[in-house]
Amino acid sequence: MTTISSETVRYPDGAAVRVRVGAPAHHFRTPAYIQGHTGVVDALCGTYPNPESLAHGGDGLPRQPLYRVRLRQTDLWPDYAGNPDDTLLVDVYQHWLEPA
């Protein structure tokens, strides 16, 4: 039987996290507009094969925890005109997050 390796889940719901900044040459799923911003873990969505590996012929292992991260719109866009409580929920893999 094959063992499927997964990174340990590091962030509980409610944890403050910062999205890492980077533009690696390979495929990645972390949009530029959230990079460097701080948010809060809304929920763990599960652990999934790492798409950065899959996209280049890899096995996607170790699997990465995927979090739904909540960011405040007024933090993302300084001139945001809506309700100051409006938020953005975005799915981010654990290796793109660091403690904030």
Partner: protein, 203 residues
Amino acid sequence: MTATHVEDHVHDQPMSEVALRSVAIEALLADKGLLTADQVQQQVNLMDGRTPADGARVVARAWTDAAFKARLLADSRSALAEMGISIPAETPHLAVVENTDDLHHLVVCTLCSCYPRMLLGRPPDWYKSLAYRARAVSDPRGVMAEFGTTLPTDTRVDVLDSTADMRYLVLPCRPAGTEGMSEEELAGLVTRDSMIGVTRLSD
């Protein structure tokens, strides 16, 4: 190269560069034994078999059956199976998010065009446009206004950017004055755009 799928692409005009590339990639995948033409065709058929009417039926059931709604929000795959809607294991996880009077959801994929295809079919062209993808995250209320829905300022907006392995479907608010309607009649009220979140049905 297998003939079947290529024939689907035959038109009077020459094929676009993108279409040619897609055919070439499909042929390569088949030659390398990674994917068969049958598998590709099955996926195309699966996609073509899904339409917003599927999502509408699910929404109407959730409006009329609170226990079903709770199961749908907690674990969409098994709840949808109850309705005879199968979500293949290899497709991304589908999460249903519920609108209320105080909270509105709007779905976008800023990186490409991820979309709850298993309940809505293929996305509309505007959903894939750079304009929608850029503006949905930075000005969701402005985008909604262009679709004809002005959201009260005190209703919070949560924009969902489906960048990864999750797909999102919005469960719209049930419009007022529909208490006497059957599930089928209710399903007829539910629009594709309300399940993406660019409109609200109650307006």
